[in-house]
């Protein structure tokens, strides 16, 4: 077990290193472009030269990379060209906001989709199964940009229950969080439900579930003790992937509701060529992806004893 974790963590560091190298080569190798991006396209040749000189851009590439990497590791991401303040000061609050959003989506997503998936996979082909399947396919096939408009129309304009934007200028307001969470939940729960259902349905046809039934165990115990644990292995991986999606895939929702989150920041940085912001956002996103993978690998061995003791 200790070896597994160490191995995974080493792999993770290696991945991060590789990504950073690619990122550096892609964005930092052509120094003139950087100067244009930072100083603006109306700067003069001389201004650019002086700026590059002052910031050590004429050092050899490997030396620059080492310094760049060192700064990154110590949390110094440079200065944002849009906000004119250090990237870290913008990035961390934004990441925190997205974490709040993702947390609440998860709080509802996990129980709803697992329960629905298990209920429908338990008796494949039953009425309940068909109802759940139809609902989950329907909701998943509506894209976020459509459901944002729909929910806003319903809750903001017709019923006037909820505010239409979620920028939270006057501090945290749970009312402003409802619509983004709702849209993400409606879009995502169907997918996870379907995955859970498939896994559960497969487990229900295995011989060990038959053994459990024919042992005379109460149905509840057959489901909870025998089927569930084996059925949860596949959805677990899917849920872990949802974390990544919630981090960087929520651009539409954050943008629509003017929610000050990570996705919106990423979009903004990309549109306005904020090179240091892009670098920082990418590294953070990669970190989260790799971290969830490590976590799911470890959890996997706990769920599946065949891996643990091989």
């Amino acid at each position: 077990m200790a070896i597994l974790i160490t191995k995974r963590l080493l792999m993770m560091l290696l991945t991060m290193f590789a990504v950073s190298l690619i990122l550096f080569l892609l964005l930092e190798i052509d120094v003139d472009t950087i100067a244009i991006k930072v100083l603006g396209q109306f700067s003069t040749e001389e201004q650019r030269y002086l700026w590059l000189e002052r910031n050590g851009y004429y050092e050899p590439v490997y030396k620059r990379y080492i310094i760049w990497l060192g700064n990154f590791i110590t949390g110094d991401f440079g200065t944002s060209t849009i906000y004119k303040i250090p990237v870290a000061e913008v990035l961390w609050p934004r990441l925190w906001n997205t974490t709040i959003l993702a947390f609440w989506v998860f709080v509802f997503l996990v129980p709803v989709s697992l329960v629905l998936g298990i209920l429908s996979g338990m008796r494949e082909g039953s009425k309940l199964d068909r109802t759940i399947s139809v609902v989950s396919i329907l909701t998943t096939s509506v894209p976020e940009f459509a459901s944002t408009v729909f929910f806003s129309g319903l809750f903001v304009f017709s019923l006037q229950w909820l505010p239409g934007t979620s920028s939270m200028f006057e501090g945290f307001d749970w009312k402003q969080l409802v619509l983004p969470v709702l849209v993400l939940l409606v879009y995502d729960f169907g997918y996870v439900t379907r995955m859970t259902r498939a896994s559960m349905a497969e487990v229900m046809t295995t011989h060990y579930v038959r053994t459990a039934v024919l042992k005379g165990l109460p149905y509840k115990r057959v489901i909870l003790k025998h089927a569930l644990r084996n059925a949860l292995i596949a959805p677990f991986t899917v849920l872990m992937l949802q974390i990544n999606w919630l981090l960087s895939g929520v651009i539409v929702v954050e943008f629509f509701y003017a929610y000050k989150g990570f996705g919106a920041l990423l979009l903004e940085a990309a549109l306005r060529q904020d090179i240091y912001m892009i670098e920082a956002c990418t590294m953070v996103a990669v970190f989260v992806v790799v971290m969830t993978q490590v976590f799911s690998d470890i959890a996997y061995t706990l769920l599946n004893p065949r891996i643990r003791f091989s």
Binding site: T206, T211, L214, K215, G216, L217, K225, H226, R306
Partner: protein, 697 residues
């Protein structure tokens, strides 16, 4: 075979079971009646698709959402199981009726420990606490002869060997001391010597607890060893029932007769008394003929009699031996018609040497990447899959390689075929050295001259190509012929050779039955006119009657084409039937080799002796000495230092067996035994299988 009382535990009357699919109602079991008394063991025997497992599932009332009992009753201790509620059934399942399954590994939950899986049975049915349940689980594991119950209790299923898993499943079935035990092919997935242990255990249980049993199997030999009465099923119906001995001595139904003709009894011989396969195929459930289901395959079919109404069971005898009933209208007439026709075939003369293997070794290296192994410097281990293999094979000869799983017989086949190259030693095929020539660098003629027939025909045919394409491709690949029309003609003649209709050329594998697929596999192997065929368990995945037909096909082909057949098998009865010489392997080493006659008579290697004893023989006349091996096969990673068989050997001499490799002793020019026991002493041993003279004649 325990003490029986007259109390009827299970009484099934006129049971009809159907599956309801989109295509309509498919009758799975028709007109099934059965009475089980306390302590009695009933055998249900038949080929796949005959409905024997459906009966077991109906008794359990677990038939899936599309299966249902159409009519009839299943009375268990006076209560009709078909009329009980789910909750009432739950209380009976696992407590009063329990079941033991074919594949122990898939019957156990992979993510629960054995103790939890065992303890939940009494916890669900009785008012006891966890501590008592644990004690019961431990006790039952001791009862099924598991040597270290505490370790097993704390294990997950994948940490146990197949035999141990099956013992756990049996223990699980016995935990609540049920009145009725259903055993669905409980030993089919196990090795022969392990099977022998399990069969003995099941017999002891029935004696000790007075449990009634229904034993489902396709293996007539096992049924003979375990059961009091037997029901032979064919295409959803019981065709014959009776007490074991009278039924096995004089079967009445043509199908039962046919079954006995298909199995290699010690009295069968490939030249003097060859197997007689049943012609034709099992009809699909919705295509059953009118009248007798067996009529299209029966030699005694009489038009106007057998194809009229449904046929009912008739009494053959009802005496002290119990009822003997048969579902055949002509059983009295058949008795006179059936005169043994002379079917003997010409023996083929054994020719020149085709294959020579000298001191062949195959080692694999295994990497253990755990921290402990890396620290102690033992991270690379050598697995000796084959150690000093030495033999030769001749033209028209059948050489059998016998051994249980993990004995290295498949590795040997791989090395011969060039899928692996030998670590040491030499191999000559038709005089050419091939031990270090891998399959990619072999010449076309080398490839064509040695071909393989695989165990599982379904997995070896490409599902998206037609039969004609697959065989034709082999012909062009071997460079035998490139002209499209000529290739086609060759495929057609190959189809003739394997006795398949020519229009199979356009079929795809999914349209074929298992036996037909195996014939295609054989046709493909023959595409290059090989001088040698390696057949790796070619019939073990097939039904009895199909297996007999394939065996006979291989024998006929050998006679016609004088090819060498290397027959890899764990089944000694089929090996005795068709082979000229036998190589007995254990943990990668040859324990004994010799002519078939020599291997089956003393002096034996102690392992051969145990193997012979483990083979179930479906002939009540034949007597057998019982030798049950203790323990499991040692791991190939950590084999014993001296004789590989030392850990399980019932004749172990002492320290010498643990420390020194046994010397090879020669009894005759062909017969060699690797054992520390002197030959003279081994000669004193009585034969394991005694065939009475009358049966031989």
């Amino acid at each position: 075979m325990a003490e029986q009382s007259n109390e009827v535990v299970l009484n099934i009357q006129n049971l009809d079971i159907s599956y309801y699919t989109r295509a309509g109602e498919i009758p799975a079991v028709v007109d099934f009646s059965l009475e089980v008394k306390r302590g009695e063991t009933i055998g249900l025997v038949g080929e796949s698709g005959c409905g024997k497992s459906t009966v077991a599932m109906a008794i359990m009332q677990y038939m899936g959402h599309n299966g249902a009992v159409k009519s009839g009753t299943i009375e268990f201790k006076g209560r009709d199981l078909t009329k009980l509620s789910e909750e009432e059934l739950r209380q009976i399942r696992g407590k009063e009726i329990s079941m033991i399954y074919q594949e122990p590994f898939s019957a156990l939950n992979p993510s629960m420990r054995i103790d939890q899986q065992l303890m939940e049975v009494p916890l669900a049915h009785e008012q006891i606490d966890v501590k008592e349940a644990h004690e019961r689980a431990r006790q039952i594991l001791t009862d099924v002869n598991i040597p270290d119950p505490d370790r097993v209790l704390a294990s997950y299923p994948h940490q146990l060997s197949g035999g141990q898993q099956q013992r756990v499943v049996i223990a699980m079935g016995l935990l609540s001391n049920p009145d009725l035990l259903l055993l669905d092919e409980p030993t089919t997935a196990l090795d022969v010597t392990v099977e022998a242990g399990i069969v003995k255990l099941i017999a002891n249980i029935s004696k000790k607890f007075g449990t009634s049993q229904i034993y489902i199997s396709h293996n007539l030999g096992l049924i003979l060893e375990t059961c009091d009465r037997v029901f032979v099923m064919y295409s959803g119906e019981v065709v014959e029932e009776g007490r074991i001995k009278p039924l096995f001595k004089s079967p009445r139904h043509p199908y039962t007769h046919g079954l006995f003709g298909c199995i290699a009894l010690p009295t069968a011989d490939k030249t003097a008394a060859p197997l007689t396969p049943i012609r034709g195929q099992l009809p699909l459930p919705h295509e059953r003929p009118k009248g007798c289901n067996f009529a299209p395959r029966c030699d005694h079919f009489a038009a106007g009699v057998c194809d009229q109404d449904d046929i009912h069971m008739e009494d053959v005898a009802d005496d002290v031996d119990g009822k003997h009933r048969v579902r055949c209208l002509r059983w009295t007439e058949i008795e006179q018609i059936r005169a043994e026709a002379d079917q003997s075939k010409e023996a083929a003369g054994i020719g020149h040497e085709v294959l020579k293997v000298i001191d062949m070794q195959k080692y694999y290296s295994m990497h253990d990447r755990s921290l402990k192994a890396v620290m102690s410097g033992t991270s690379v281990k050598l697995v000796k899959a084959n150690e000093k293999i030495d033999f030769e094979a001749h033209e028209s000869e059948t050489l059998a390689i016998v051994g249980e799983s993990g004995c290295g017989k498949s590795t040997l086949a791989k090395v011969l075929l060039g899928l692996e190259t030998a670590t040491g030693g030499e191999i000559f095929l038709n005089g050419e050295a091939i031990h270090d020539v891998s399959v990619q660098s072999r010449s076309n003629s080398q490839l064509a001259s040695m071909q393989m027939v695989f165990q599982n025909p379904s997995d070896t045919l490409n599902p998206s190509h037609t039969v004609g394409q697959q065989i034709g491709r082999a012909i062009t690949k071997f460079g035998v012929e490139h002209n499209r029309h000529k290739v086609r003609d060759m495929v057609m003649s190959l189809l003739d050779i394997v006795k398949l209709p020519r229009d199979f050329y356009y079929r795809r594998p999914r349209q074929l039955s298992g036996g037909q697929k195996q014939r295609i596999g054989i046709a493909r192997a023959f595409a290059g006119q090989p001088s040698m065929i390696i057949a790796d368990e070619p019939v073990s995945a097939l039904d009895v009657s199909v297996a007999a037909a394939i065996t006979e096909l291989l024998m006929d082909l050998q006679r016609e084409r004088k090819m060498t057949l290397l027959f890899i098998s764990h089944d000694l009865s089929i090996v005795r039937y068709l082979s000229d010489r036998i190589l007995v392997m254990y943990l990668g080493q040859v324990m004994e080799q010799g002519l078939t006659r020599e291997v089956f008579q003393p002096p034996y290697h102690p392992y051969t002796e145990a193997l012979l004893s483990a083979v179930p023989i479906a002939d009540p006349e034949v007597s057998k000495r019982e030798i049950v091996l203790e323990g499991n096969l040692p791991s190939v990673l950590n084999p014993p230092k001296g004789c590989p068989f030392e850990t399980r050997c019932p004749r172990k001499v002492g320290k010498i067996c643990e420390e020194d490799r046994p010397p090879v002793q020669s009894d005759s020019e062909n017969h060699h035994i690797a054992c520390h026991i002197p030959l003279d002493e081994l000669r004193q041993v009585e034969p394991v299988i005694e065939v009475p003279d009358a049966a031989v004649a």
